[in-house]
Symmetry: C2
Subunit: 635 residues, 2 copies
């Protein structure tokens, strides 16, 4: 027996992190040939976006995927980021668990320090070839170029060659090129799809995608970088006891109060008082002298004291406008009946990590009604294409009984089906991915719960819409009848008594109680003229605002009375206060080739009137465009 215990013990060895991942490359996202290509591109692009945003540079990224043999591709990603100083390049690209964002508490795409080094490792593993890296920082006239591999046994870079090169026309940036085994596919899980979805929620980015078959440019849509996320201190809510004990032991603060105020976010001296009272521990206690029981009491007390939600500036939500764009993009050719206003929840905390959930939903119209609803998933502005079923977003969707909100669902469980698309974004200083491949979000109870809440909030609007729809339909029918018949009656009656037909506005107002919008278009050559009539047939004064999308990228508004306010892609007319029975007219003209498009396909939105009182236009704020307007105005 002795010999067996000893014999077995002799086999115990340290395992290199490099060898571990070399043998478990699927954990890093290299489980199939198709996915390997997507992962390689994704890790490169994520890094480039993070670097550009941190340096305040509008990202300009070129991704090239070229076939160089049977199931072998050369993948390169080039950016205009700040560049990497020579001494750091090799480690950034060929050392696992090496990175700049791991210790930072703020939202970023890369957080693990594994990504791009995993690509280098997979490249050499699958094709035996080294990776070529070139980087240039602004203050140098030249770039440094390396050929490197990852020495998996020691988890450090092997630099095969290193030289100084000129990089014509490039002020600064980084480029790498790796040869990997892979398979370039189109469809839902493709490089193209990943880049497209990235471009949608990162409109400050220009992405050029070059493959053997095509060159696609996802153009920059805005010159405004998203607000830079700020590093914050950890939030005390849900922090692990062990982490808290470690912090208390190692702090240089001598008093509990200053420890809590200075090393955690959102704790004031006032809050400390409450916490300490609740915990029965003195504020002047030396934190390093507290034992586990004290720490436990303190953490329990924080759960009972109201502590402010985490700062929002460590997070960068997508925002209503981009959620809408994200959904519109997949909607090409479809005309949904209802756009639920996107929901952006307040930031929350899991294990001390702030996170925030956003949800968007479109429903009905001519969306496919067969099969499960489509789900678009994002984490820290990165589209998630794989492992859908293992994702907290899917868990949350399945947890909800969608039947009460108007979607079909077998037995009130599982994926709902029907004509709907749901977008979910989880932003966090540390997204709890299920594995290093960052394919899906783990089922952390706090996270699942927040997603559920956001979904329910969104879904409630869907239900309201569906209910109101019925009411509205009835009112609309009634109005149309009255609107046609009343003038006829008036005319005939007037003819009989030999008088002028009376004004009907006041009568209509009494009978109907609705705001009626009429929208007409006339085409003259390339000029489109539109007239919008607004009649206030309600007994109340109305401050009405009318919105309309800019119809086409290359068209021009050449006349409008009254003058509209431009709001990005929208026109906005603020009408002066309208008394009961009053009416207004907006008249405007567009110049430009609309092709087969027709202005009647462009929706008119009206703010200031509730859904059931409005006929002939879509109401705000029940529609999400109000949120769009607010964001645009607020930024």
């Amino acid at each position: 027996m002795a010999s067996i215990a000893e014999e077995l013990a002799e086999k115990h060895k340290e395992i290199s992190i490099g060898e571990f991942f070399e043998r478990n490359k699927h954990i890093l996202g290299f489980d199939s040939l198709t996915k390997a290509l997507v992962t390689a591109v994704k890790e490169g692009v994520d890094n480039s976006l993070d670097a550009c945003e941190e340096a305040g540079i509008l990202p300009d990224i070129t991704v090239e995927v070229r076939s160089i043999g049977e199931q072998e591709y050369s993948v390169s990603v080039e950016d205009n980021g700040p560049g990497i100083p020579k001494r750091k390049v090799a480690n950034v690209f060929a050392k696992l668990l090496y990175g700049s964002r791991f210790h930072d508490i703020r939202q970023s795409r890369g957080q693990q320090g594994i990504g791009v080094s995993a690509v280098v490792m997979y490249g050499q593993l699958s094709t035996g070839k080294p990776t070529l890296v070139r980087s240039k920082v602004m203050e140098k006239d030249y770039a440094n170029e390396f050929r490197i591999t990852l020495d998996t046994k020691n988890n450090k870079p092997d630099i095969l060659s290193q030289e100084v090169v000129l990089w014509e026309g490039k002020a600064h940036g980084t480029r790498f090129e790796t040869c990997i085994e892979g398979l370039l596919r189109s469809g839902e899980h493709s490089v193209f799809e990943y880049l497209k979805n990235t471009a949608i929620v990162n409109p400050h980015t220009q992405i050029t995608y070059v493959s053997d078959d095509e060159t696609v440019v996802f153009k920059r849509a805005t010159d405004q970088l998203p607000p830079k996320t700020k590093s914050v201190k950890p939030h005390i809510e849900g922090i692990e006891l062990g982490t808290f004990v470690k912090m208390a032991k190692s702090t240089e603060r001598r008093r509990l109060s200053s420890f809590l105020v200075n090393e955690f976010s959102r704790i004031s001296y006032r809050t400390v008082k409450d916490i300490c009272k609740e915990a029965g521990i003195g504020e002047r206690t030396n934190p390093s002298e507290m034992d586990i029981q004290d720490c436990k009491k303190l953490l329990k007390a924080t759960a009972r004291v109201k502590i402010m939600a985490p700062e929002t500036d460590c997070l960068s939500p997508i925002g209503s406008m981009l959620i809408k764009k994200g959904l519109k993009n997949v909607l090409k050719g479809y005309h949904p009946e209802f756009y639920a206003p996107p929901i952006t929840r307040e930031p929350c905390v899991y294990s001390g990590n702030p996170f925030q959930v956003e949800v968007g939903l479109v429903f009905g119209g001519d969306l496919p009604s067969e099969g499960p609803v489509r789900v678009l998933r994002y984490a820290n502005r990165v589209p998630l294409l794989y492992k859908k079923s293992a994702c907290a977003t899917t868990t949350a969707i399945k947890n909800i009984d969608w039947r009460i909100y108007g979607l079909e669902q077998r037995g009130g469980k599982g994926m709902p089906s029907g004509p709907a698309i749901i977008l979910v974004h989880v932003a966090s200083t540390r997204v709890p991915f299920t594995s290093e491949a960052k394919d899906s979000i783990a089922d952390i109870p706090e996270v699942v719960e927040e997603i559920e809440k956001a979904l329910r909030e969104c879904a409630r609007n869907l239900r309201t819409h569906l209910n109101k729809g019925k009411t509205r339909e009835k009112i609309s029918e009634k109005f149309m009848v009255v609107k046609d018949i009343l003038p006829m009656i008036a005319e005939k009656s007037a003819a009989i008594v030999g008088k002028e037909p009376p004004s009907l506005e006041k009568v209509m107002t009494k009978i109907m109680g609705v705001v009626y919008v009429e929208n007409t278009f006339v085409k003259k050559d390339k000029i489109w003229e539109s007239t919008i009539n607004i009649n206030n047939y309600t007994p109340r004064k109305r401050n009405i605002v009318v919105y309309m999308e800019k119809p086409y990228p290359d068209t021009e508004l050449i006349f409008s009375d009254p003058e509209p306010v431009f709001n990005g892609d929208h026109l906005r007319w603020e009408l002066s206060s309208m008394d009961p029975s009053a009416s207004r007219t907006i008249c405007f003209r567009y110049n430009g080739d609309l092709g087969k498009e027709d202005l009647s396909g462009i929706d008119v939105y009206v703010e200031g009137v509730s859904e059931t009182e409005l006929i002939g236009a879509d109401p705000l704020p029940a529609d999400w465009d109000i949120a769009l307007a607010e964001i645009e105005g607020g930024e």
Copy 2:
């Protein structure tokens, strides 16, 4: 700009593997309180089983889970394994990526060198408390006891105390006790369920489970250890080019032929000849002088040359008998209509790693017909309870159009529904888990394909059964009519002509062509008497074997004519050769309290007759019990 590149570069730091997992504890299986407990127990038990099996010891494991505070539990796992020598204990329990099985190519439960150290880390993280480890090797009179934590920053153990203790009544073994935050639940995802399912496929193990509410002993069912798995050399099929290049560069062999024969499994000098010819590379080439192109050619050539499948002795499949037991266990109270014979596929290879798939299926009867089919998943004899939807087993099941095999499935996609339970086991020298938590198997194309093949094979038997069922039903109806009417006709005719009624066996044989089994039971006090009549109404000689399950654990067979053979839980009567029209009778008596049970609930199986020729009993080998009998006989 320069300052930004430099500033950002300054933040680049090495990340400790300990800190990485501390912050990503969900990757290790600690994503929820319920799961944390299961993970802690699982990692401990997996280690104990591996250690015992390697040392050739019948495992005797005690798992204790005690509530010690609000959402806080003490978890301990004690085994009778070989013990760990003093100098290794701390590293085994408090160093991530440290283990004995990582470099071994053979099936074992732990392969990552992370498991139990992750439990220690999660314990200190969630409760701030160290882990208590005690271990004793046989040749010492005393045990060593440690209180340790994991220093995550340096990924090494912190030994808080260390002492020599007596361990009364323990010859050898290891025990650890960790305090963790958790939640003890019952149900599908519980500690109990994990242990029960572990016991089922590891019948050589005795597991005692102690919680505040219950003490359960899963008794050892056999004293036979599963065959010890052997370490093998890597298989060349699907090996990564990079790995091959590395091996070629570092080998001490001077000739390609001896390199291939000695460092890979299943390659003979004969095979080398074929490979080299196919690749156009000389057998005497020095492997370390080959370039990437040569290596690529060689690997391509191996794909075209037939190389033997990997050795099976590095793998330890569950086997038909245990698959059946596993399914029977979840079937308690149900009586399925059909047990598909379990499928054990030949070993295959992915990325050079041998693996083997087994599948079992039961169908129909009173199994719940609502909702999706139930799936039992195992990897290397370890039950997988979590992340079902992210598992290759689920992917494979969803890939199949089950409608053609007789199960319901919406649109021929997704999970099939209906009255069926499917068991899938993947055994491998390296199971490709999706993450370090070992919850589910990654969608490696080769693995998914093999699972699909096994499932289809199994499902084809289901289809055959369902088709035959229809034929059989018709024959059975016809037989019953003939059997009742023929004697009446014979009697009447005999009466008319004034003769004795003729023997009808030969006529029945001519008309029907079936073997008819009749089974009657009579109860006298606590004695049950059973008579089985077998009539060979077929035109062929038959060698018939009758099987019957032992009806109840505490009953006793007190008489049988003829004498049966005992085969574990089964009685087996081999009847002497039966001529056409011959009949036999088996008569036996049982003593014992059967409670509300009734012997008629116990199936009789008949071997030697095809399904469509048998009436009144279930046929073999169409049923899987034949496999059971073979295995039992063969071992």
